[in-house]
Symmetry: D2
Subunit: 266 residues, 4 copies
Amino acid sequence: METICVENGMPCQNENERVNGGRQQQQQEEHAAKQVRFSSSGGEHLHEHQHEHEHASEVLRQIGPQLKLLPLNDQIRELQTIIRDKSTSRGDFVFCADRLIRLVVEEGLNQLPYSECTVTTPTGHKYEGVKFEKGNCGVSIMRSGEAMEQGLRDCCRSIRIGKILIQSDEETQKAKVYYAKFPPDISRRKVLLMYPILSTGNTVIEAVRVLTEHGLQAKHIILLSLFSTPHGARSIVQEFPDITILTTEVHPVAPTHFGQRYFGTD
Amino acid sequence: METICVENGMPCQNENERVNGGRQQQQQEEHAAKQVRFSSSGGEHLHEHQHEHEHASEVLRQIGPQLKLLPLNDQIRELQTIIRDKSTSRGDFVFCADRLIRLVVEEGLNQLPYSECTVTTPTGHKYEGVKFEKGNCGVSIMRSGEAMEQGLRDCCRSIRIGKILIQSDEETQKAKVYYAKFPPDISRRKVLLMYPILSTGNTVIEAVRVLTEHGLQAKHIILLSLFSTPHGARSIVQEFPDITILTTEVHPVAPTHFGQRYFGTD
Amino acid sequence: METICVENGMPCQNENERVNGGRQQQQQEEHAAKQVRFSSSGGEHLHEHQHEHEHASEVLRQIGPQLKLLPLNDQIRELQTIIRDKSTSRGDFVFCADRLIRLVVEEGLNQLPYSECTVTTPTGHKYEGVKFEKGNCGVSIMRSGEAMEQGLRDCCRSIRIGKILIQSDEETQKAKVYYAKFPPDISRRKVLLMYPILSTGNTVIEAVRVLTEHGLQAKHIILLSLFSTPHGARSIVQEFPDITILTTEVHPVAPTHFGQRYFGTD
Amino acid sequence: METICVENGMPCQNENERVNGGRQQQQQEEHAAKQVRFSSSGGEHLHEHQHEHEHASEVLRQIGPQLKLLPLNDQIRELQTIIRDKSTSRGDFVFCADRLIRLVVEEGLNQLPYSECTVTTPTGHKYEGVKFEKGNCGVSIMRSGEAMEQGLRDCCRSIRIGKILIQSDEETQKAKVYYAKFPPDISRRKVLLMYPILSTGNTVIEAVRVLTEHGLQAKHIILLSLFSTPHGARSIVQEFPDITILTTEVHPVAPTHFGQRYFGTD
């Protein structure tokens, strides 16, 4: 986890550092130059951000390895920025959300089990590669999770996609399942559970509960999300310690307007 | 560079290690488990691969920071495997090539200059983000480079795309420019030069020469490719030390059938 | 309506005739040649098909101008065939469904109001064209209607999309609304209501009822569907005589497995 | 052909009439209402348009059945308008061009040979459908024809795509082939030849010549285009009377800026 948390304050530095850990030397040198640029954003916000990010890294440390951050880079940061920005047009919002979703889906697929294999190239060479296992499916949590279905389909042409609708009961205020449709053999599959914004975590917890009632083990669930609050991620992992959560940013403020903006019902 | 090269022999381990450097602790632990699995691929090929990969990392060290490898992961390895495999169907070849191209394009965009900015969220919070600069364009080297145009367009809706055709002169065997069409102000742009397979490097060198004759500096060129031989990358960097090359794999055997298979003229 | 109904028996002829009415002379001549080919399909089924299609045309006549058939052609017939065929793979099913959906969406957009306008071309010529009015939105009826959302989005980048979930109440067996989310100003919009298979028509009738309760007039609803039974279309129009229904085929047998196959929950 | 040409003057009426011929009664009634609206566009231009359109229909009559117009509708007219309009943004230009290309491709596929077949539905019914024959391929004429490749690929996932580059020789001003790459068995295929703007027709004539030199018969070529001048279509058909030309509009002014705008090299 140490590679994610940061000491020197600015969120931009932090996030760069995170990605640079996995790159080559020269990029770290570039990074040094970038830090100079970032530093010019002023000292005033420094404490605040330091606080915020110590918080984020603290959360990551507390929650443990189930919470995985997408390897961050500047393009992802731009997509996050545009999605967060209230002045973004609907067209740009949907376009950038779709790009970020695609990257999360690619990384999510990467969490699935695979095995090694050897193939023969057209010139007769042996090439040692890998082959992912079959038996996966997607499940979107309505409504906002449905925004992620096309991204999944674009990477896995004929993947099966289930769906679940959870809403608060008007009287009891408790999360209640209104609709659920899964592939019949879901208990034997790995599930990519899709929900873009983890705020309180309650909806996801209820969805996972329904899936486990269908015989699925939480350790076979990879939750794909775009943004999470520390609280949301923590709640989910406390309830289901074996689940994997993938997200692009842990931040106390979640863009809870996501579904409304994406579908244009705001 | 040390983070890329590997000591302990198996290519799968190596490649995993590369990406794990940039991830969290728990993923390294997972990795340990994976290594066990990989080890079962046997000792017979070990020396050979060790050699191959020492070679690759040696090449990376020699060539220097201009050559950047896409952060490798298992999905990317699967895409590489399917593209390499001579038994892959045309439909699957194109589908997997398009997915790998998209990932290279995303990482290529990430190499472009940006600046920090602060935006306001719908709930009134300030969010410190980044904004990429305008003034980029794509240039594809015909024919195989054109396979990458749609991936670029899918990430940058209205990016301008130039094109260049280079072929060997039948008499002199020298690379000769048959066609070139660029945005008029190309000398003031950053250029994403697209060519999927770097084999000898000659075609790319000729293309960069044409671009520099149009006033573009090599340091403003990011070459997007899928596969490169050590020789190809080395030749290009020797000729143009300021260029940036992005690829997903450096391997002595390049899938030179790429264009033929992608367009179905094989 | 006369241009749709057919006298001479074979469904293929009928459907060709339908589209040829709107084409040029030479295509009618081609058509004559095609009829010869179709005739070879034998006389045995003739009566049966004659009956089926007289039925279809009779239904169209009864239902009246609210029911519009997509101008049929052989590609559309192939897509219909592949979707109907139980031996079709999931990948092909989704691919062909998406193509047919795109064509229905394009024709649906064509039903929306527009006005004429004059534009200036780059060479300074005046060109008399048309411009569609703003103020449209999509509404999908869950679950199968959601399969049509991406097709709509592919034609109208930032169109707003509402959603409605209707299910039979377990006790009373009556259609009941479980979820509804619309753009706030839906009563002032034209609505493209999406539901691929019209079987009994009950679900659509309930959905339209909800929309009218939100202040929308039925005459501002264009129902986009792929397949309809005569009964389904008739029921909807009887209930809401001002609605427009667009479909590609009216046939007593509806492919009711559509949603299950498309999402892979069969 | 009579169904295309028009007597009563306004181009908008004409174009509506063309499509209405193939629709149902009620649409013709709607059309009557629309005409009133169109009539308000004034009498001043009436003669001019009458002339233009008599010219177009005259051309169609002269050229004969090889020239096929896409069944026109108002959405297509809007796409034509946006593409013609010099004030259109690059993003909108590309988006609308892609939509129009998709419609031309769908109609082009429809010109290919097919045979009837009977399939079994999941509920055990027999369904009489059609099946298109294999053995087709695409060939794009560079550069603007390449804009149509993705549309073709989106409808035919793994279709083979050849390419040809023709330019004027600087000395002789004659069209000269600089590059050609086709599937090896092209002489046995049906070819969808792609070139969006037919202005003089010279480039296409040269491309067809090259194809015939590879053993392909002109009757196996379907030329997919967006816009054509009367002269361009006439020249091509005079040279190759067996070719099929598909376009969306025959108009003396061709948007010759198409390639420059689409690729952004203007």
